[in-house]
Subunit: 598 residues, 2 copies
């Protein structure tokens, strides 16, 4: 270990050095990225967050510095003082911004030693994610990870800049909030000062932002941490970050307009091509009809067709029976895949079943006619009309699913995305942005035998559908909207109910009595009685947006310290057991034998 | 209730209307602030977040709008369309930005009705804070509260802008972290997926920001929520917001310089006069010596003097005994207060006792000499030297405290602040900014019989004091610094230990063995072995800064939804009891009979 700090003062970042610095004295500090000993000289590639610079130690001119360099190993932290020179001809590295120069070192200090890193600090890595997360401080040294986090910073700044310019006020809402047992599971926090009582960490600041509108804040935003205690699927995190907005005195068009500007601004900040505006829109009904899903990937065609009427009453029971039971038949044409083997097709059938369908019917179109196990139950006329309807030409593969309408659409829609990916129909560089609007207000929960809010119970119905709320709630559309990019829902929102009487009607439709509503949401209901303006908003998942913009395959690659699927931080080993004194203070105890709900 | 939204589209904010709009058609939306009926006309003061505009309804020209206005009550939410005109001469209100104009209303809609507000929406209010917090959405309508929150927004933006320009990267650190049973009590969060284990909400992102430096992020910042489960004193909140920064390859001077720029930028954003730089500095020893406190209010004089040597061995036991036991005598001159009554002086004595001193000695200086119950035990020579030392002139009151050194200094220091306030020695408009540096690294905890870190165990000792760490730990000064404004600590930080061997020495001084250290902070210790750069940082309490800049008496007035001293949110009624199913899922149960630690 050499002299104390303060001797040298850094003048430049390694990665920002270039030909413009030739002849200048510089002081650099960073990590030993690579060391090569060559012809008596020592070459150290010195790395900082901006990149790498080559430094040269010559024992003839600066023997002391060379002696220090001799002790340097990978990932040692060092400071050097030297002079920038152009690299000798033939040794220029065009792959590096600093590749045309090198620094001749006159003085060197080792600021801190380092054990050999657990894995090499390289752009790409095939190290197990568990190891990367355990040594996250090493993983984050990799240029791609630093780049992701800096992109996140840049986009967050662009979001704030845009919203600031558009009159939005950033307001911080509480993290220790009240538990509302609707929606996903809350993370609970026992209150020591109020024994037996708990806070909940917010699943979103929904109610607080509505109250800010009642308070007259007019335009609110926040980039805010939210929490959901779910069984984690592949790309979910127990804590995630939301871009949260709310506006007063607006209708849907106002929200969509200001949001499109925001999305354009953040794509621009990430260096993406500018998005044509206004963004295309699909109604929920269209999205389901054409793509089978409410978050359609519109980067490619292969749209679904509805074949229900065509196949009503045919001999083939696989179609006729579901239709007779109120189901539907959806079909699509997988162009040029009529040559799929029986094994490939069996794979598709299994896939469709995995997506919830009871089966998958297939038809190969060839010059000789249409091949299918079901062909004989349909007859030539229907087969011809089927091929016509799906634009089936020789060499195509037609796939059909008959089931309950949403099941048929959903399963075939997911099969479409899977095939689109496998057949490379998707332009991976494209960004297909779409609004999906006019969502149903309610969806029926057959298990509980009641209607549920599709978004949340504060979503406003379309004015023209309000009269249906009492008698035909399934028909009521909501003033709700989702922003879908490349088949991913990046954000969603709605115009909220601002009238107390409409809110009561909504609760009635949900089978929630006034007493229950008051117990759960009393403060919001009361606020609606004290002068609530018309208002609405939207929220985006920041992690997902950054992953999309960074081209990352997982949101864990755009979060500094993410958790595993078991919701553990492998680096700090959280969660952990705690002192019994801590539990005593909170007046709780463990109850490990009890069975939780499934 | 009148027609649906969407009919009108707002064109201006009420509060931004002015003479430049005369003759223009406008659409305004907002709350009925005040209604006056006068000579057949109805005047409605319409309020939005920017302020108030006067609107006029004339039954002769626009009978329908007048009819709607007739139904308007305080805090109704309304939309109006009309034309701006100059107010008739003699009716101009110079107190309002829009006071020279009014809007003649041609069309009006009631967007939402409102019950009479629980308290009037006025600039000032004497409503009980409990009521204000219960109806926070009404309280926030008051212009002073909206102004505070918008100031907070503006200052937050200025902070981000400054740090962005200086190369800091905003990185979000986890909220679900590991409990470290040092410092204050953690808020715990039971983990459902890891039964029996708990997360802790962060008291600060200290360890994560240090790990980001090890990761090579170089400059980090975050405006971040932190949590402390303390028994709440007057102006504390269980969750509070911190401006958190960390820099690599820096020494103390670098941190202080970049921080001064930040503080200047945020004062400027709040419209305060620019601060002279560099900021004055006091060492901890000087601060205690001259002001008795480590967060001195330097807006006024009345500094303390050390009288220990002068009074060593005097006959007066009140002085001699504490000095003989290693104590000290501190004194100050309360100019011109020699006329204090016996009752007033008794009050000061009680006060000193409340501040932890055993007593308070007083001396009145007059033309005839010095009056004091202790005068006869000191004798004329000492009395004269005492008066000289404290610049005592006829009419002055001298106050002395003899006690253990820190107790004497602290009690007299607090008495100084109290008297400074009461005697109006403080220029309330002044902003006295001071660095306090060279804090002791350790402080002795007599109850536990061991040394404790004064800041935290990762604070670096001064290089020149490092050799003392083993033998004379109380003498070691830290590379720690606090920013004090008007006697309040607004922020503090330090250069951290980046060398594993120094960290081991520190733990040894704290009586923490390697095994214990590894169990508690293993990941940080390990990180120090893999190439940690020299680094340091600082953190500020945002709530307190905004309160200072807003001139608010409580941080609750600059937080949208604060909690009470019992850590309750009166509006949402958080915390609350939860479903037994939720507890079963978490495998915990209540244990209300157990006694927590005191």
């Amino acid at each position: 270990m050499s002299a104390s700090m303060g001797l040298l003062k850094r003048t430049e970042y390694c990665g920002l050095l270039g030909p413009q610095h030739v002849g200048e004295p510089v002081v650099l500090m960073g990590w030993v990225h690579r060391r090569r000993d060559h012809g008596g000289l020592i070459f150290i590639d010195l790395r900082d967050r901006e990149g790498v610079a080559q430094t040269v130690f010559n024992p003839e001119f600066h023997p002391e510095a060379h002696e220090v360099a001799h002790r340097m190993r990978a990932e040692f932290v060092v400071a050097i003082r030297g002079r920038v020179q152009a690299r000798p001809p033939g040794t220029v590295n065009t792959a590096l911004p600093s590749g045309a120069i090198e620094v001749v070192v006159e003085e060197a200090q080792i600021l801190n030693e380092a054990k050999p890193p657990v894995f090499p600090i390289e752009e790409q890595t095939d190290v197990a994610e568990e190891t990367r997360l355990t040594y996250r401080y090493l993983d984050l040294r990799r240029p791609s990870m630093l780049r992701n986090l800096r992109l996140r910073h840049k986009v967050s700044q662009a979001i704030r800049g845009y919203l600031d310019r558009h009159g939005f006020v950033e307001v911080e809402t509480p993290m220790l909030t009240r538990s509302t047992p609707e929606g996903a599971r809350d993370y609970l926090v026992p209150s020591r000062l109020n024994p037996g009582e708990f806070y909940a960490l917010p699943q979103s600041p929904q109610l607080f932002k509505q109250l800010l509108m009642v308070a007259g804040m007019d335009r609110y935003y926040q980039i805010v941490r939210c929490f959901r205690d779910e069984d984690l699927r592949a790309d979910r995190q127990p804590e995630f970050t939301q871009i949260d907005m709310e506006l007063s005195f607006v209708d849907r068009e106002d929200v969509l307009e200001v949001t499109e500007g925001l999305v354009a601004a953040l794509f621009e900040a990430a260096g993406k091509p500018s998005l044509p505006r206004p963004f295309p829109r699909l109604t929920y009904a269209e999205a389901i009809d054409r793509f089978g899903l409410d978050a359609p990937d519109t980067r490619f065609g292969m749209e679904l067709a509805d074949l229900t009427e065509m196949l009503r009453g045919v001999e083939a029971k696989a179609f006729a029976e579901p239709i007779a039971q109120g189901g539907a038949v959806k079909g699509m044409n997988v162009k040029g895949c009529g040559s799929f083997s029986r094994t490939q097709i069996d794979g598709l059938v299994e896939c469709a079943k995995g997506f919830g369908a009871k089966g998958l019917a297939w038809f190969k179109v060839s010059a000789d006619g249409i091949q299918s196990p079901l062909a004989k139950f349909l007859g030539p006329t229907i087969l011809k009309r089927l091929a016509e309807r799906l634009n089936g030409e020789a060499g195509d593969l037609l796939l059909l699913i008959a089931d309950q309408p949403m099941t048929a659409a959903g399963a075939l829609g997911r099969l479409r995305v899977k095939l689109g990916r496998e057949l490379k129909l998707i332009d991976e560089s494209a960004l297909a942005v779409t609004w999906v609007i006019d969502f149903p207000l309610l969806e029926y929960n057959p298990e509980q035998g009641r209607w549920q809010a599709m978004h949340h119970p504060f979503t406003s119905p379309l004015d023209e559908d309000l009269p249906l709320l009492g008698d035909d709630p399934g028909k009521v559309r909501a003033k709700a909207y989702d922003l879908v990019v490349n088949g991913q829902e990046l954000g969603g929102g709605s115009i909220r109910i601002h009238r107390r009487d409409v809110q009561s009607q909504m609760f009635a439709a949900l089978g929630i009595g006034e007493d229950e509503a008051r117990a759960k949401f009393g403060f919001l209901l009361e606020a609606l009685e004290y002068g609530a303006p018309p208002h609405g908003g939207i929220a985006f998942g920041l992690d997902r947006i950054i992953a999309l913009l960074a081209g990352a395959t997982s949101i864990r690659d755009v979060i500094a310290f993410p958790k595993t699927q078991k919701a553990q931080d492998l680096m700090t080993k959280a969660p952990s057991s705690v002192d019994s004194r801590q539990l005593r203070d909170l007046k709780i105890k463990l109850d490990l034998d009890v069975k939780g709900s499934p």
